[in-house]
Symmetry: C2
DNA sequence: CTTGACACATAGCGTCGCTATGCATACCAT
DNA sequence: ATGGTATGCATAGCGACGCTATGTGTCAAG
């Protein structure tokens, strides 16, 4: 998978993972890898800034937790985040159909 | 359609349009609009640099033509461009499936 | 006691689509 | 004639954002 294929779609992916249940950054990375069949193996330097950005935008809220001596920042969708996910999904569907139509 | 949704996929779209038949920049824009059902209405400032980039990469060749007092630069796929289109299509399919799997 | 998984953070880079702008020709309606 | 619209190409500069590289620290396994 080339570098910039994700550009503009990563937010939707992260929101979608968090729609299932709250999770911390590292776990989000694992779930993206799993749910994409290995296609999305994202470096931490990609994901953490996304989480900060989404939280700044009001789409996520977060809190520190401590599990087995390890601190984790657990993120969850806000109401606004859930709405945003809906928009992003629609956008993806429109985009995906359009690309398909051109490439066909 | 948001600004950066296309990022990383535009080359494939342009190559795909030119795979049907050679065309000049402005016509490529029109065909993208048409074939995408209006979803892709790209400004010239987006498309012309792509054409230059693809030609520099050896995926396109071009020549000036004169039609009804208007000069046009007509682009056509090279053999390498045809191969590249195949790769890009595969990449798109993999990407698209992966996103679908995560968003589902 | 070192390797590797877990866990977070951020500075800096590079790519690339978009905006804005400029130039030029053709055609149509007023 | 003239002004608007479509046609046609080009490029400077901006901004967004994913990635690399690097740093910090904990814990389990060998």
């Amino acid at each position: 998978m080339k570098a910039d294929t994700l550009k503009g779609h990563l937010d939707a992916l992260v929101l979608s993972v968090l729609a299932a249940e709250p999770a911390h950054g590292y776990a989000i990375i694992e779930r993206l890898k799993l749910r994409s069949g290995g296609a999305f193996a994202l470096p931490e330097g990609t994901v953490y800034p996304v989480l900060h950005r989404l939280e700044r935008g009001g789409f996520l809220s977060s809190e520190w937790t401590e599990v087995a001596g390890r601190r984790r920042r657990v993120y969850r969708l806000t109401r606004s985040g859930r709405r945003e996910l809906g928009l992003r999904k629609n956008e993806w569907n429109a985009f995906s159909r359009a690309v398909q139509a051109v490439l066909a």
